[in-house]
Subunit: 215 residues, 3 copies
C-alpha cells in the first residue's frame, strides 16, 4: 500500500501547485487588462477551476471540486489579496516563465484525471479524452474570453491541448490494456507533461492556417 | 402570518422591478452596440435571467425561474417590442441613472436569495455566498461578454459584487445565529442594497492594480 | 411504415449536411482569425455541437448527441484535417455561399427537433420554442464569442433566429392541434427553412435600432 499512498501525496502536491499556477495566470491577465480587485478574483477563479467545473457540468457530476473542498476558495481569496500589493508589472514576465513548469505538471495531471473520470462513466475513448482536454484547457479559455481576448490555447500555435490529447489516449490505451487505474493515470499524465515540456524547450509550433491569397 | 405574506408581496415587487432594470441594462447595451431586434431580446434575456440560470445550473436545480414562470418571457418580449420604437439615444443616460435604484434593490434580493438556495443544499458558507454573487452579477457578465466587452462588474472599480458578497455573509451569519430564513433574507438583502446605495452616493472605488512600471 | 422510415432517412441526411455546414462555418471563422489547428477544431466543434449541447444542459438531458454518436467527433476531426491543406482563402466566400443552403435546412431541422424535445418534457410553448432557437443558433453564438466577435446572429439584421422562432410556433400549434409528432416536426422545420430561404433570396432585413441622436 506504499505506492498508492505516496502517489496520492504527490498527486495532491501537484494539484496544489498547478492550481496555483492556473490562478496566477488569471491574476496576471486580469492585472494586464486593468481589472479591479473583484475582476482579479473572478478571473483567477475561472482560470483555476473553470476547466474542471465545465467538465463536471458536462458529465453531470456533483459536487464540484471547489464545493467539496471549499478551503481552496479561501486559498484563492488569500492569493488574490497577497498578489495585489506584492506583484509589480516587472514581475509579470518572470512569474509567467516560472509558472510554465507547474502549469505543465497540471496539464498532465488534470487532463489524465479528467479522462479517467469520463472513463468511469463508460464513455467512449474519444469523449473521455476530450473531457481531459476540457479539464486542462477550458479554465484558460474562459479566462481569455472574459478578458475579451481570443483564447491563447486556440491561437498561439504552441502544443498545449494537443499534449493533453496525446496523454489522454495513452491513458485510454493503458487502461484498455489492463493496467491499473493508478498506473494508467501516471502514464497519461507523464506523457502529457513530457510532451509539453519538450514543446516548451524545443519551441515546437502547431501547423498554422496559411491562406494562399489575401483575404 | 401578516409579516411573511407582506414580505412576499414586497419581494415579488422588488423582483419584478429589479428584473426590469437588469433587462433594460441589456437593451441599452445592445442598442449601443447596434445589435438587431433579435440581439436586443437575447442580450436583455441574458442580463435579466443569466445569473439565476447559471446558479441553477451549478446547483443542479430545475426548473429554471423562466421555465416555471414563462409569463416573464412574454413580459421580456413585450419590453423589447416597446423599447424599440420608444427609446431614443438621448434616453440612454437618464434611463441608466434611473435604473440604478431598482438595480441596487435587485442586487440585494437576488444575492440574498441565491445564497439562501445554496444554504438549503447544505453547502459551505463561502460557496453559498459565491452562489449569491453569481446570481446577482453573472447576468451582467454574460451581457457584456456577448457584446464583446470586458464585463463592467470586473472592471469599473465600483463595489457591486462586493456588496453582494458582504450581504451574503450577513445572511449566513444570521441563519447560523438562529434567525428565521425570512428575516435572514431581509437582513442580507438590506445589507447588500444599503452598501450599494452608499457606494453609489459616495463614489467609493475598489482598490485597483497599479503596476509599478510599464508593461 | 414507409413514410416514417423514409422521413428518418431524410432526417439523418439533413442532419449530417447541416452539421457539416455548421462545422465549416466554424472552420472558416477560425481560419480568418488565424487560429492554430487546435483552435480550428475547437471552434468547428462549438459551431457544430454547441447549440444542441447547451439545450441539453438546460433541459438536463444526457447523453449529449456527440457522446451517444462519438463517430461524429471522428468525422469532425477528419473534416478539420482535410480542410487545413485543401481550403484556400479564395475558397472562403464561395464555401460560405454554398453552405447557406444546408445551413438553412439545419436551421429548420434543429430548431424543430429542439422544440419537440422540450415539448416532450411538458414545458410551456414559449420555453419549447426558445429551446429550438437555442439549438439552432447558439452554436454560432459560441463560435463568435470564442473568436472575440459580436455574434453574427445578434447583429447582422438578417432573420435567422426569427425563422427558428416562427417554425417553432408552427410545430407547437400543429402538435396542439393533434397532428402526429413526425408531421409536426416536418411542418415546423419546413416553415423555418422556407422563411430562411425566402429571407436569403429576397434580402429581408430585421428592424434596427436607429438612435435619434448621437451617443
Amino acid at each position: 500500500m506504499q505506492t498508492p499512498s505516496l502517489l496520492s501525496l504527490v498527486q495532491t502536491a501537484v494539484e496544489a501547485g498547478a492550481t496555483l499556477a492556473f490562478a496566477l495566470s488569471g491574476l496576471l491577465e486580469a492585472a494586464r487588462k486593468r481589472l479591479d480587485a473583484v475582476g482579479m478574483c473572478v478571473v483567477a477563479f475561472l482560470a483555476a477551476f473553470g476547466g474542471g467545473t465545465l467538465r463536471d457540468l458536462l458529465l453531470d457530476r456533483r459536487p464540484f471540486f471547489w464545493v467539496e473542498h471549499a478551503e481552496w476558495l479561501w486559498g484563492l481569496l488569500a492569493l488574490c489579496a497577497l498578489a495585489l500589493p506584492f506583484l509589480r508589472a516587472r514581475h509579470f514576465e518572470p512569474t509567467e516563465r516560472a509558472m510554465q513548469w507547474p502549469d505543465a505538471l497540471g496539464l498532465g495531471l488534470f487532463s489524465a484525471s479528467g479522462t479517467q473520470l469520463a472513463l468511469q462513466q463508460e464513455l467512449p475513448g474519444i469523449v473521455a479524452v476530450l473531457m481531459g482536454v476540457v479539464t486542462a484547457t477550458f479554465g484558460g479559455v474562459l479566462r481569455d474570453v472574459v478578458c475579451n481576448e481570443i483564447p491563447k490555447a486556440l491561437q498561439d500555435h504552441r502544443p498545449y491541448a494537443l499534449c493533453a490529447f496525446a496523454g489522454g489516449w495513452v491513458l485510454v490505451g493503458c487502461q484498455a490494456g489492463g493496467l491499473g487505474p493508478g498506473w494508467a493515470l501516471l502514464a497519461g499524465a507523464a506523457t502529457a507533461t513530457a510532451l509539453r515540456v519538450a514543446a516548451l524547450v524545443s519551441g515546437w509550433r502547431l501547423p498554422a492556417w496559411t491562406p494562399g491569397e489575401g483575404h
